[in-house]
């Protein structure tokens, strides 16, 4: 992220959490809001795409295992979209950890991936890096 793209000091970075699990969304929202981020939620890839087109986000956190459109597909679609959306940083959350999944995450265009269960500290650390916020 270039200097000019960093969030303005004082402006809250906006994060979209995409996961079909309401508990995971709630967890992420609680953790991230406490840390000062603005959080929006989407329950599947389609809803996520609508929100990404309508609103500005600094980061999208995407679960890989979603029923209607898996996270990798969503990120591929994101990367293929109009410019401001295509460069949106994406953090994927996966349950598998094999090199194949890391490779697939990279190939799909994810910036980084986290494995479930996701700890608060891991989540915050990665979010800080990807939104350019001070750590």
């Amino acid at each position: 992220m270039t200097e000019s793209e960093r969030p303005v000091a004082g402006a809250k970075a906006r994060i979209l959490v995409v996961d079909d699990s309401s508990l995971v969304r709630l967890y992420c929202r609680d953790v991230l809001e406490k840390a000062g981020f603005e959080v929006e939620q989407a329950i599947n890839g389609i809803e996520a795409m609508e929100k990404v087109l309508e609103q500005t986000f600094d980061l999208v956190i995407v679960d890989v295992n979603m029923p209607r459109m898996d996270g990798f597909s969503f990120i591929r679609v994101l990367r293929g979209s109009a410019s401001h959306v295509a460069t949106l940083p994406a953090l994927v959350v996966t349950t598998e950890a094999g090199p194949h999944d890391r490779e697939e995450a990279r190939a799909a265009g994810a910036n980084f991936y986290l494995m479930k269960p996701v700890s608060e500290s891991d989540l915050l650390r990665h979010v800080a890096v990807l939104t350019g916020a001070p750590q």
Binding site: L23, V24, D122
Partner: protein, 209 residues
């Protein structure tokens, strides 16, 4: 006005007579080298109980995703034990789309899936166990609670527990609370799961009258 009325179909010919071939010809068509023919055959056999063995066999070898979908729909429409038996192996597919399709199909058959739940929830593969928890989503609350509580008592993988907790949040009854509490104690140090369990217990306890 630029609008013209012509007819339901752009040509006026009668519906494709292939569709009237009867079950026999559709069964044969399941093996056609032409994907379009297989697609039509699978759709025509929807709900035909006698076709389940043929559909199951076709499902095993079908490569074209759209046709695989149609075969799964056809099996879903029969919805008996044999259909479930045909769909379960798809849970182990390498293809995420196929696994997801199988979960969706099986989820809609809570009655037929019930006899398979114990084995699926005890499967050696954690991912299969995770998918099996999803199958309880459309069960009667008492049944879902019973099978998932049983899982929680024995499960060692936190992600499988988290999946079960998620489903219980939606359909669990208060009978799930003891198993949930025990699970929270067992996994006190693990991220996310204690949060998920306490949220779920709160949800279950507050909604019921």
């Amino acid at each position: 006005m630029p609008f013209i009325k012509r007819g339901a179909s752009s040509t006026d010919k009668a519906p494709d007579s292939k569709a009237d071939g009867g079950a026999e010809s559709h069964l044969a068509a399941l093996h056609s080298p032409d994907a379009e023919v297989r697609w039509t055959a699978a759709r025509a056999l929807g709900g035909v109980a006698a076709a389940v063995p043929a559909l199951a066999a076709a499902l095993g070898s079908e490569q074209v995703p759209r046709v695989r979908e149609a075969i799964m729909t056809a099996l879903m429409r029969v919805g008996d034990e044999a259909s479930v038996r045909a769909l379960v192996p798809c849970l182990r597919s390498e293809d995420a789309g196929q696994r997801s399709a199988a979960v969706e199909a099986l989820q809609s058959l809570p009655g037929a899936v019930a006899p398979f739940m114990t084995a699926l929830l005890a499967d050696g593969d954690a991912d299969v166990r995770i998918m099996a928890t999803e199958l309880a989503r459309n069960m009667a609350p008492e049944d879902a609670t019973r099978v998932l509580s049983g899982l929680l008592e024995k499960e060692s993988h936190p992600n499988v527990c988290a999946a079960a907790v998620e489903v219980l949040a939606e359909v669990g009854t208060r009978d799930a609370v003891p198993a949930l509490q025990a699970c929270a104690a067992r996994f006190a140090g693990v991220p996310f799961l204690p949060f998920a369990i306490s949220t779920t217990i709160a949800r279950i306890s507050s909604i019921e009258s």
